[in-house]
Symmetry: C2
C-alpha cells in the first residue's frame, strides 16, 4: 500500500490511512506500507537546499530531502500502534533498499527482504517504509527523484511477491480523460500497463512512469485507489497485463499536456548528420525532446521542428545558439511557440484497429483545430495544437471514441480474470 | 565544534556558522562539526509524535525526532561547500555512533572513527555530524535526550582526540551569575569541570550535565563560545581540569533555578526504612528528588521535606497518595509549596576555605530572606527560598563574594597553561 503526500498531509489524514491499513490487515494480510512526505514538506526541504547552495551537492540534497518521508513513516507506525497493529517504521537504509549512486535520480538495484521478513515472522503486521529513498554502495542516502515513492512501492511489491500493490492517491482511479476538463470522463476499471505507461508519459499524473515500467516487467498487479474515500466504495482502477477483451476498446483514454512548447529551426542545411548534431546538443543541455518533424527540403535547406516542456525552452535556445556561434550548425532563425498543448489518444486496440488516426484528424478538423505536429506509436497518437483548443480537443475526442461508455462496460467486465 | 538550535535557526545563521568553521579550517585544522536541529524544529516534531499517540513507542519517536538534525547537517555541509570547503554530512548511523537501546534517552557506547578518518584522509576538511542521535545494536535510530548534541560533540572530541571541543551557543560563555538577573555578572575565562557540573545541575543551562561529566572523564578541553559574535572577539569560557590558581576564587558563580517545588509530608512514622519507602516510590514515579530534609522527630513521628521540579509535583503527590492508600505509608498531610526557588553558590575553593556557608546565610538573613531548606556538597551550597526573593538573593551573594572582579582577574590569568 502506498500513500502519497496529500494522503498523509496531517495527523488526521495519517490516522485515516492507519485505519485503511488496519482494514487490510483485518483480512489476514501482512502489509508493507510506503509513504511519501507530508504534502508540502518535500518542497520546503528542497527550498532550504536551493537556498543554501546554487550548485548543490546531490548527496547532501538527498540527505536533507529524504527526511520528510522518515517523519511520515514514524508517525504512521505510531498511528497504527494506536490501533493495536504491531507496526514499525523502516528507513531506506534499514530495509535496505540498495540504489545506484545517481543521487536525486537513483535507481533501485536490489531490495533485501530478510530484515522485514524476520520482523513479520516475529509478529509485526505492518512495515511502514519511507518511500523515495535508498542507500548507495557508498553508504550514502539516495533519492529516486520526484514521485519516486510509487517506484518504491512497486519494487517492494515485486521483491516481497505481494499479492497486490495498492497506490492510494487523491483521485479514485485512472480516467478516460481528466475529469476537470472533460465532464463525461469515466473511471476505468482496468487498463493495461502499456496504456497506463503511454497515459503517464503523455501527462496523466496519477502514476510515475518508472513505477509502471517496473510493474510491467515484474507483473506486479497495481490498483490505483483514492485514499479519501471510505473503504467499501474503493475499487479504483486495476493496472495489469493486457487481456483479450481489452482490445475491444480501441481507445482507452485521452491524455493532455499543457506545458509543451514547439521550436522550429528555419532553413537548416539538409545534410546527413544534421539531426544528430541538433538533438545531440539538446540532449547534452538536458532538454527532453518529445516530437520531431522535418519539413520537405527545398534547395538543400529544410525546417526542423521539435517540442519540449515549456520550462526547457530557454536551455534549448541557448544550446542551439551556442552551436550556431561555434559554426557547427547553420540556420536562419529559431522560432519558439510556447502557446501549444499536446493531446493524445491511447489504446492497445489501435494495434488491431485501423482508421483511428484518420478519425482523430477528422474530429479535430471539424472543430476547426489546426494540427501543428503529429507523432504516433503502436498504441497512441499525439498531436500538438494551439493551447486554447486543448479542452475542446479532449472533449471532442472523448465523444468521438465513445469513452463515456467505457466505465459502464468495464464494470460489466470486472468479473473477468485480471 | 558544536552549534545549537539558535545558532543554526535559519539559512543565514547556517551560512554564518559555515564561515566560523571555515576560519578554524583556515588555521590548518580538520573540523568535526556537530549540529542540532534548527530552533523550534525538534519541538515541532515532538508535537507531531505526541499528537499521533498518547503512549508512544520511543523507537518511532527517535526515528521521527532525529530528522531535524539530519536536515541541519546536510544544509551546513552545503553551506561549507559554497565556501569551497570539502564537507559532507554524517547521520548517526553513518559514523556510526553506537548507542544503548534506551530510546529517547540513549547513552553513547562507542564511536567508530574509521569512516570519518578515511574521508579526512581523502581530503574532507569538515565532517558535519547530526547531533543528538545514534544507532542501537538492533539497527534502530536512538536519540540521547534533550540537549544531547553537547554530549555528541564531547564524545566525538574524545574519540577523535580533538585538540579542543568548542560549544557554540547563544551566550558568549559561562557567567558568575545569570546576567539577566545580576547586572554585575562577569564572564568567566576559565572554570573547572566540577564547578561547571554543579552550575549545570543547579540551573545554568549553558551545557548539558552529561556532556560535562563525559568531558571530565576524558579530559576533553571544552570552550563555551557565542556563535553570534564575530570570530576575533570570541574567547568564551574554558572548561578544563582544575588548577592551583582556581582555588583562590572561593566562589566561582551563583546559580539559580526558578522551577523548584517544596513538598512536606507531615507526621510520618519515624522508623527505619521509611525514607527508602518514600523515595523509592518517588523514584519509580520518575520524580527527580533534589534536596531532602528530615525534621527532628517528636513522639515517634517526623516531618519529611523534599524538593523536586515544579512540573513533577503532580506525579509526586499521586505516588505518595497511592502508597498511603495501600497502607504502606502513613502521614497526616502532604503540603506542596510551588512558590520557591533554589539559589546556589559554587566554587572548588570551598574545599580549602571555611566559612562560606556562614557568610552565605548571613547575607541572606541581612536581606530578610528566610531559608527553607539547605543542602551542601564539597564545592556548593544550595538554599531553597521564597521565589520572590530569588533575584535579590543572587545579586546579594554575587556582591558578597566579590564576583564582579572574577572576570577581570581571570583575564589576567589567561596567560596560564589551562
Amino acid at each position: 500500500m502506498k500513500f502519497g503526500g496529500t494522503s498523509v498531509a496531517d495527523l488526521d489524514r495519517i490516522r485515516f490511512v492507519a485505519e485503511r491499513v488496519a482494514t487490510e490487515i483485518s483480512k489476514g494480510y501482512d502489509a508493507i506500507v510506503v509513504v511519501s512526505a507530508m504534502a508540502g514538506k518535500t518542497n520546503e526541504l528542497i527550498a532550504s537546499v536551493t537556498g543554501s547552495s546554487t550548485f548543490y551537492d546531490a548527496r547532501e540534497y538527498d540527505a536533507v530531502v529524504s527526511s520528510g518521508e522518515n517523519v511520515t513513516a514514524g508517525l504512521l507506525a505510531l498511528a497504527l500502534q494506536e490501533l493495536d497493529i504491531p507496526a514499525r517504521s523502516w528507513q531506506g537504509w534499514q530495509v535496505p533498499i540498495r540504489c545506484s549512486s545517481a543521487h536525486a535520480a537513483a535507481r533501485i538495484e536490489s531490495i533485501s527482504t530478510v530484515n522485514i521478513n524476520l520482523k513479520f515472522a516475529e509478529g509485526m503486521k505492518a512495515a511502514v517504509v519511507a518511500g523515495f529513498q535508498g542507500i548507495s554502495a557508498e553508504g550514502r542516502i539516495t533519492t529516486l527523484g520526484r514521485g519516486g515513492s510509487d517506484t518504491t512501492a512497486v519494487a517492494l511489491a515485486a521483491a516481497f511477491q505481494a499479492e497486490q500493490c495498492h497506490i492510494y492517491t487523491d483521485v479514485d482511479g485512472v480516467y478516460t480523460a481528466d475529469p476537470r476538463i472533460c465532464s463525461k470522463a469515466q473511471r476505468l476499471d482496468r487498463i493495461s500497463y502499456e496504456e497506463m505507461l503511454e497515459l503517464a508519459s503523455l501527462g496523466a499524473k496519477v502514476l510515475q512512469t518508472r513505477s509502471i515500467e517496473l510493474a510491467m516487467r515484474n507483473h506486479v498487479t497495481l490498483r490505483v485507489l483514492s485514499s479519501f474515500e471510505s473503504v467499501s466504495d474503493a475499487s479504483g482502477t486495476l493496472v495489469c497485463d493486457e487481456e483479450k477483451d481489452m482490445e475491444s476498446k480501441v481507445v482507452a483514454g485521452v491524455a493532455h499536456s499543457r506545458d509543451e512548447a514547439k521550436l522550429t529551426l528555419i532553413s537548416v542545411a539538409d545534410r546527413p548528420g544534421i539531426a544528430a548534431t541538433i538533438f545531440g546538443a539538446l540532449g547534452e543541455a538536458g532538454v527532453n525532446v518529445d516530437m520531431i518533424v522535418q519539413n520537405i527540403s527545398e534547395e538543400g535547406r529544410t525546417d526542423m521542428t521539435f517540442s519540449c516542456p515549456t520550462d526547457q525552452v530557454f536551455f534549448a535556445q541557448r544550446a542551439l545558439e551556442c552551436i550556431k556561434q561555434d559554426g557547427i550548425l547553420n540556420y536562419s532563425e529559431l522560432v519558439a511557440d510556447t502557446d501549444v498543448a499536446k493531446v493524445s489518444a491511447v489504446g492497445i486496440g489501435m494495434r488491431s484497429h485501423t482508421g483511428v488516426a484518420a478519425r482523430m484528424f477528422k474530429v479535430l478538423s471539424e472543430e476547426g483545430i489546426n494540427i501543428k505536429v503529429i507523432t504516433t506509436s503502436e498504441i497512441k497518437i499525439s498531436v500538438l495544437i494551439e493551447r486554447k483548443y486543448m479542452e475542446l480537443a479532449v472533449q471532442s475526442l472523448h465523444d468521438a471514441f465513445h469513452l463515456e461508455n467505457v466505465g459502464a462496460s468495464a464494470v460489466e467486465m470486472d468479473t473477468g480474470l485480471c
